[in-house]
């Protein structure tokens, strides 16, 4: 038994009493706090290396974001252009205004149709007359040979497939002579966007993997540089989780900062494009609305990057510490 008054012995009794679950939890939380702060200090202690790692990861994550932004807006552009390219329905010759109005009402009730404009034969004739070189030729006609034309404006967001189906349905109507569907270019654009979306996904996966490897390698070098400290901690009875904790936080910091950088770069791209896009929008009477990245994505990118950083650090530290044990 320890002698009376021994300070070590007195402390021992208190220590035994203090080993409750609550105190362990408090100590665990304290070590998390310490690890988070210590890893941040380590990053700050070598600013150039840390900045380079964050910059490489940030650029790697910004690329798919920029691609996503571009694709989303090409889609928007396609929608805007699609709105100006109405489906033109040419009625059989001899159909009168009442029949044209009836068909316009029928077609206007279809969900994919936003608006139907009836163009009378006289309006068609007037348009032709305004075109250079036609006015003389029209004077030789005894009567107006042009039919009623209905211009169908598809609703925004209507897919190319739905517009194609609309054209097919209208073409089958007995009062309709011809349907002019300008949807071919839309289908090609949609196909291209499909390829682009898949490419963006592959690019995002590859660049995320690259970011993960960057964090992993940085943490690996960090662990290699602190092998002596790790050895001492293990000899003192530190668990793998205890030793790993500061390195996991380092991974989280790298990921978080690079995610923030990637988001800032994406916002910068939006700002750089804002002026030419506004000009493009004006050219389409303001119908072209270019969107930025949604707010949820701006929040999700840094968080996802932090998880990515943690994962990279976790994989490498587990492997490195197993080797050290």
């Amino acid at each position: 038994m320890p002698p009376e008054g021994n300070p070590m012995a007195a402390s021992e009794a208190t220590l035994r009493n203090g080993h409750g679950r609550g105190r362990r939890l408090a100590s665990w939380r304290e070590h998390h706090g310490w690890s988070a702060a210590a890893s941040l200090r380590r990053l700050a202690s070598r600013p150039l290396g840390s900045l380079l790692t964050v910059a490489v990861m940030g650029l790697a994550l910004a690329l798919p974001l920029a691609f996503y932004l571009l694709l989303g807006n090409v889609q928007k552009l396609g929608d805007a252009l699609g709105q100006s390219e109405a489906v033109s329905v040419f009625m059989q010759p001899g159909q009168n205004a009442q029949q044209a109005q009836l068909l316009a009402r029928q077609l206007g009730e279809r969900p994919e149709v936003a608006k139907v404009t009836v163009k009378t034969p006289q309006q068609g004739m007037d348009e032709l007359a305004r075109m250079q070189g036609f006015s003389g030729a029209l004077l030789t006609l005894d009567d107006n040979p042009l039919p009623y034309v209905l211009q169908l404006q598809p609703r925004p967001g209507t897919s190319a497939g739905m517009i194609e189906q609309l054209a097919t349905d209208v073409r089958a109507m007995h009062s309709v002579d011809m349907v002019q569907d300008s949807g071919n270019w839309r289908r090609r654009l949609d196909a291209l966007l499909g390829v682009g979306n898949r490419a963006a996904l592959v690019l995002a996966s590859l660049l995320s993997l690259a970011a993960l490897l960057v964090v992993g390698n940085t943490v690996r070098m960090d662990i290699a540089g602190r092998s002596e400290e790790i050895g001492v901690l293990m000899l003192l009875g530190a668990s793998a989780a205890f030793v790993r904790r500061p390195y996991l936080y380092a991974g989280i910091w790298y990921g978080l900062f690079s995610g923030i950088l990637a988001t800032l770069l994406a916002v910068l791209i939006e700002l750089v494009l804002a002026e030419p896009v506004a000009r493009l929008s004006r050219a389409y009477d303001g119908r072209l609305q270019i969107n930025g990245l949604p707010p949820w994505l701006l929040l999700a990118v840094p968080l996802a990057a932090a998880v990515l950083g943690w994962l990279g650090a976790r994989l490498v530290s587990a492997w490195q510490l197993r080797k050290a044990a």
């Binding site: 220590l15 100590s27 304290e30 668990s239």
Partner: protein
């Protein structure tokens, strides 16, 4: 109580560091393990710290077979023993206080309790006034005393020391040994590997002598005298 029963250790490559080693050290006893370089002293301590595993035989501490401690249980095992190294193995970026505090942080001891225990340990080794200093600002002897404070701060049941006075002058070495002797008095089993025979003789404690991994003598304190 430490029990070695027919313990052998053969390293990869065939070198046999320990051969058929059997001895016991009762709880609270302080014993020296000595022998020339390569006799197996460090290997013996490594086996106790589960840094190495025996090739044959059984090692037990207070009846617990070390062979049954799984890989995942090694950290917990090491928390029960204190280790002192010839090269101190202090973390030079951390203060003396933080170094001594480490085993308690690892054990999950509350902050206030840690502060109390660290100061008690530093007071014990006479370095309380150095708690805010970095180890590099201390002399070799002081660094070794910090290492000892770190080894005893969690009140281990076993304290093992590998050449703890290897770099110290004779007077300082005697002081350090005196510290170990005090821990023995509070119930800690102390096992010290040393080849400093004059110092061992002055301490008048049990001596286990190894030669080429074999036990060649096991001298009681009286026999040493």
């Amino acid at each position: 109580m430490i029990q070695f029963d027919q313990v052998s250790k053969r390293y990869e490559g065939g070198h046999e560091a320990l051969s058929q080693l059997s001895f016991e050290v009762p709880t609270g006893e302080m014993a020296f393990v000595t022998g020339h370089s390569g006799a197996g002293k460090s290997t013996l301590l490594k086996l106790l710290g589960l840094i190495e595993r025996p090739s044959h035989g059984v090692i037990a501490l207070d009846g617990r077979d070390l062979g049954k401690v799984r890989r995942g249980g090694i950290p917990k095992w090491r928390r029960q023993i204190g280790m002192v190294f010839q090269d101190h193995r202090l973390l030079m970026e951390r203060t003396v206080f933080a170094n001594v505090e480490l085993p308690l942080v690892i054990c999950g001891t509350a902050r206030a309790e840690r502060a109390r225990r660290v100061r008690a340990a530093l007071e014990k080794v006479g370095l309380l006034e150095c708690e805010r200093q970095l180890p590099a600002t201390l002399s070799t002897g002081e660094q070794q005393r910090v290492g000892i404070a770190r080894a005893i701060v969690a009140r281990p049941s076993l304290l093992i020391a590998d050449e703890p006075t290897g770099n110290l002058d004779p007077q300082l070495a005697l002081e350090i040994m005196g510290l170990f002797d005090e821990f023995k008095q509070i119930g800690t089993t102390v096992l010290i590997a040393s080849h400093d025979l004059p110092l061992i003789k002055r301490m008048k404690r049990r001596v286990i002598v190894l030669d080429h991994g074999r036990l060649v003598a096991d001298l009681s304190a009286q026999e040493v005298l």
